[in-house]
């Protein structure tokens, strides 16, 4: 199962740093995100694309996580040679992360 089934995301940029939200459609799925989508997993997922530290912040009241990816935008939005210099599409890359269906838990239905 891909994160896309459970959550939505938007990418933001500041200099060479990207931030990716990860928001559970159903707050009941938030603990699963919190348990599985660690900063380490996200860093491994973006290997080769993100060259710096990955930090994770929790917003349990919103059922959301926020990942801050350093050295992620080719030296910064304004000087990057990348086609997507803002890294806008990184949100979709995060949602492509495979997660297991842990302990028989299933994503809650619907949006």
């Amino acid at each position: 199962m891909k994160l896309h089934e459970l959550a939505h995301s938007r990418a933001g940029d500041k200099g060479d740093t990207s931030n990716l939200s990860l928001i559970a459609y159903d707050p009941r799925d938030y603990p699963l995100l919190e348990e599985y989508v660690t900063a380490e997993r996200v860093r491994a997922h973006f290997a080769g694309l993100v060259h710096g530290e990955v930090l994770r912040y929790a917003l349990p009241g919103l059922g959301a996580l926020n990942f801050v990816l350093h050295n992620a935008l080719g030296g910064g939005v304004t000087r990057s040679l990348a086609l997507d210099a803002h890294g806008k599409c990184l949100s979709s890359a995060l949602l492509a992360l495979d997660i297991p269906e842990l302990d028989g838990r299933r994503p809650a239905d619907g949006v």
């Binding site: 200099g15 973006f46 919103l62 959301a64 926020n66 910064g76 304004t78 997507d84």
Partner: protein
């Protein structure tokens, strides 16, 4: 004092649609309409424009936006706050006054906020740059601009002096909303909790359609109706800083808990410490409740004392970018595109183009997510090679695109649609400037009643 203030988010970037702001002004029952049009780099580009023509350097769409909304706003008593002044708020204010005259509007008071341009200070003090710690002087004659992020104070002052339109250069985006709230409710500049809440309101409104279903749709997962007629947001803020986000009834898009959450986290790092010139806002305790269709309550933000320094964006010239693209399609498309990339790499060596950095992207394969994340994808029926390099001179940048174009006669079979381009790179870094070295000023324009 009013019980609550209604503020419309009329633009989320310089090129944003114009009609949604007209709809907001006509039907939004607004007290204020804001336009956030100044991206990080825009001000450095505007500075270049101003150097070429001292009467320019404000947002190129300023007149068009004002022609669309000024008469409605004047008639309905809606005050406008915008950062469309870019590198030249004074010339921007004169332009607005000219538009007002053209529309036959009399007595409109237009305030320009200046003082964000700190180039002289930054040069004199030679502050360290925040990435790497090199002093500003390390940029030498490539240094273009330095603009400090001003806070809400000069906007509040301009409104207190009865400005109908406030046009600024670089200010923190949420200050466009926080300024009117402080003015209307008389919040103290050290009421950190209210300033934190007002900052959240500003953060949610400043990207306009970003919170009303724009940049949100994902068919089957997140459906949004009528994006061609997307309505822009209205924030209804009460004296205690509590906030309801809504939009004009019947407009396209949607306001839901999900759209508000996406925008709340957008461009935020640590949600407990969202740094602005006015307050360190805390978004971590925020809760979001759907009150009804397209009506969402956002509450619970906090705040702590503001930082002692102001962030300033430093613009500088960083060489040139040269680019060429060409497409391959049908059987063997990817192999031919890869061969083309290899040929270009060898050609750039043979002809001796000194490259500070170069990328070979296969658009349709790996240009966006890179080779790692794209490895398992099936082969597409068409692919576009993109070669882009950074050079010290324009002449060298031109040669990159020329080499890609020459693949039409010297490269693999079946290449088509070659394009080439170059541009000068204006890049941005940041530095921190002590507050006391930054002195905002307000200038009034327009014919008085």
């Amino acid at each position: 004092m009013k019980k609550s203030i209604r503020i419309g988010g009329g633009a989320g970037y310089a090129g944003d649609r114009i009609e949604p702001a007209v709809e907001l002004a006509e039907k939004g029952d607004l007290d204020y309409l804001i336009f956030e049009c100044l991206a990080e780099r825009t001000i450095a580009l505007a500075q270049q424009t101003r150097m070429a023509d001292p009467e320019k350097g404000y947002d190129p769409l300023l007149a068009e936006r004002m022609e669309a909304v000024l008469e409605i706003c004047a008639r309905r008593g809606i005050r406008i706050v915008t950062n469309m002044g870019a590198a030249n708020p004074v010339a921007g204010a004169r332009k607005i006054a000219e538009v007002a005259r053209g529309l036959g509007l009399v007595g409109l008071r237009i305030a320009a906020v200046t003082g964000d341009d700190v180039l002289a200070v930054v040069k004199a003090e030679d502050f360290p740059l925040t990435d790497g710690g090199e002093p500003v002087s390390s940029l030498g004659d490539r240094l273009l601009s330095a603009n400090a992020y001003l806070g809400a104070e000069p906007i509040v002052e301009a409104l207190a002096q009865r400005a109908d339109v406030v046009i600024t250069g670089r200010v923190a985006d949420p200050a466009l909303v926080l300024g009117p709230l402080i003015h209307e409710f008389g919040w103290s500049f050290d009421d950190w909790e209210r300033l934190g809440r007002g900052t959240l309101a500003g953060h949610l409104l400043e990207c306009a359609g970003h919170i009303t279903g724009g940049y949100f749709a994902d068919p089957g997962k997140k459906d949004v109706a009528d994006l061609a007629r997307l309505g822009f947001p209205i924030g209804e803020v009460a004296e205690d800083g509590s906030l309801v986000i809504t939009k004009v009834a019947g407009s396209g898009g949607r306001v839901s808990a999900a759209t508000c959450k996406e925008q709340l986290i957008y461009e935020v790092h640590d949600p407990r410490a969202y740094l602005t010139p006015d307050v360190v806002a805390d978004f971590s305790p925020v809760t979001i409740t759907e009150l009804g269709p397209d009506q969402v309550r956002v509450q619970g933000a906090g705040g702590r004392p503001r930082p002692s320094t102001l962030k300033a964006s430093v613009g500088y010239l960083d060489g040139y970018m040269g680019e060429g693209q060409i497409s391959y399609a049908g059987p063997g498309a990817v192999a031919r595109a890869r061969l083309a990339a290899d040929i270009i790499a060898e050609r750039l060596k043979i002809i001796g183009v000194p490259l500070r950095e170069v990328r070979y992207d296969l658009i349709g394969i790996d240009a966006i997510h890179g080779p790692g994340l794209s490895a398992a994808a099936p082969e597409p029926c068409e692919v576009r090679l993109r070669v882009v390099g950074r050079t010290d001179s324009l002449k060298e940048a031109v040669r990159i695109g020329n080499e890609v174009e020459a693949l039409l006669t010297c490269g693999p079979a079946g290449g088509g649609g070659a394009t080439k381009s170059t541009r000068e790179i204006v890049a941005m870094l940041a530095t921190l400037v002590p507050r006391e070295l930054v002195n905002p000023e307000i200038h009034f324009f327009g014919e008085l009643k």
